[in-house]
């Protein structure tokens, strides 16, 4: 399938339901993300936020996350309150920390 079809805009998110809603930046997607998402109870919907000073643009990040088998759909924007989900996982703080670590490693080269 064309996994880009899993990416939807915020305007189309109202009324959707998900077993687990994950909120994060995914800037960029790292191996740890893949493991963490796969371990969650699915189907997983990802709400993709914009970090300060993004590395990759939102569309690029959304398509990468959508290509993962454990992800049912990716909503570009803050879908908290729009998508009904019994479980919300906030990855934003962890995302910022792993992004800083990646940038530091690249700068060290």
């Amino acid at each position: 399938m064309d996994t880009r079809a899993k990416v939807i805009e915020l305007t189309a998110a109202a009324g959707l339901t998900a077993k687990t809603l994950v909120v994060g930046f995914f800037d960029p997607v790292l191996a740890a993300h893949v493991e963490r998402l796969a371990a969650l109870e699915g189907p997983v919907t990802v709400s993709l936020l914009d970090p300060p000073d993004e590395i990759l643009n939102a569309r690029a990040r959304a398509e990468l996350v959508a290509s993962l088998a454990s992800v049912e759909r990716v909503i570009i924007g803050d879908a908290r309150g729009l998508v009904a989900s019994p479980q919300v996982v906030d990855m934003t703080a962890a995302d910022l920390a792993s992004r800083e670590a990646l940038i530091a490693r690249i700068r060290q080269r």
Binding site: R4, P28, I55, A60, E63, L64, S67, I106
Partner: protein, 368 residues
């Protein structure tokens, strides 16, 4: 009259896939040289703000683009998998993570469709890009010059290669980009220097760029000293304000026009750019013609991203050494997949197929 090689005559259709650096590309080529489709997704905007290719981002962008790019190449060619003879993919040299994306996809396609897989050396691809629709007399001297490579090869009958010379440090295209960055121009700086150089005087600072003497290998290049020469030149003058103004222009307008860049570049700096470019072009062709003479070449091939440089094209075309000089057309000079498919045809004819153990080889050599 030397032997004439005609890759054009080899029947079949090959899907080529190239992901060695910062372009995701796919193409379908028929009968050795007829282009049925060619799709290239560039990552320039992703890497531009960092002043160079960031490998971690390149592999992610390849991952995102590979499926749509291959699909588009097949759709534009109007073909299905059953119409193909083989799948060719760049195995190296290049960035490991970037190569891995194209290789994994090509291997999966080969496994799913049953089509044979052909591993292609990126440098051999560049050489084939210049001779797609022509049949150069061999042996030929090939100058492969880009942001990652500066090599001189002897190309003999049957597409056999011998390395005659290479850069000891920076590739020529890398030197262009680094000099541009040093002076506050955007990335990639090579095309911009090419566009600005005609407004300067190439003799003005010729003395800054003396040809380095390299012990032991008369046909090797070295460009890193000239980057230092430019740095020294800027330090001797107070260019901080001028450089900062250009950096600000690039930050504000990543796609500034030539007129905007000219307005931000005083005549003396234009003279430096012209002198630098002239020195690089002269040096590239000096060693290439010397190598061609030594091997009694019947033609010369100039290829790779820097083959887009207008002064290099003009100077090479005007060599008049008694043999023809071949260039790829501009859009086939930079990375593309047409060249990968084209280079795979002689391997298809020889049934030189790879199996699923094919791995990325970041430091793959074309010849010793």
């Amino acid at each position: 009259m030397g032997l004439v090689h005609r890759a054009l005559r080899i029947p079949g259709r090959i899907l080529g896939i190239e992901t060695s650096c910062d372009e995701t590309a796919a193409a379908v080529v028929e009968s050795g040289g007829r282009i049925l489709s060619s799709t290239v997704a560039s990552q320039l905007e992703t890497h531009g703000k960092y002043g160079g290719v960031v490998p971690e981002l390149a592999s992610r962008e390849h991952l995102r683009a590979i499926v749509p790019v291959v699909r588009e190449a097949m759709t534009r060619a109007g073909l299905g998998w059953q119409d193909l003879s083989a799948i060719a993919v760049t195995e190296g040299p290049g960035l490991a993570g970037a190569l891995l994306v194209g290789l994994t996809y090509a291997k999966s396609l080969s496994l799913a469709t049953g089509l044979p897989l052909i591993g292609v050396n990126h440098l051999e691809g560049h050489i084939h890009a210049a001779v797609l629709e022509s049949a150069p007399e061999l042996p030929a001297l090939a100058l492969v010059v880009s942001g990652g490579h500066t090599h001189l090869f002897e190309v003999s009958e049957g597409w056999h290669y011998r390395l005659l010379g290479r850069t000891r440090d920076d590739a020529a295209g890398e030197a262009f980009d680094k000099v541009a960055k040093l002076l506050g121009f955007g990335y990639p700086g090579g095309p911009l220097i090419d566009a600005l150089a005609p407004y300067g005087r190439p003799a003005a600072f010729a003395n800054e760029f003396t040809v380095p003497r390299i012990k032991g290998a008369a046909q090797d290049y070295s460009f890193s000293g000239w980057k230092t020469a430019v740095l020294r030149w800027t330090e001797q003058r107070d260019l901080r304000a001028e450089i900062a103004a250009r950096q600000a222009l690039f930050a504000r307008r990543p796609r500034a026009t030539l007129d905007e860049w000219r307005a931000a570049t005083p005549p003396e700096t234009l003279d430096l750019l012209a002198s630098f470019q002239h020195a690089v072009v002269t040096e590239l062709l000096r060693r290439a013609t010397r190598a061609a003479e030594a091997m009694d070449a019947r033609s010369m091939i100039v290829t790779g991203g820097v083959a887009c440089n207008a002064e290099l094209r003009r100077a090479a075309a005007a060599l008049r050494q008694g043999y023809p000089v071949y260039f790829p057309e501009a859009k086939l000079s930079t990375d593309n997949a047409v060249m990968i498919a084209a280079a795979a045809f002689p391997k298809l004819a020889r049934r030189e197929f790879a199996d699923l153990t094919l791995r990325p080889q970041p430091n793959l050599q074309l010849a010793q």
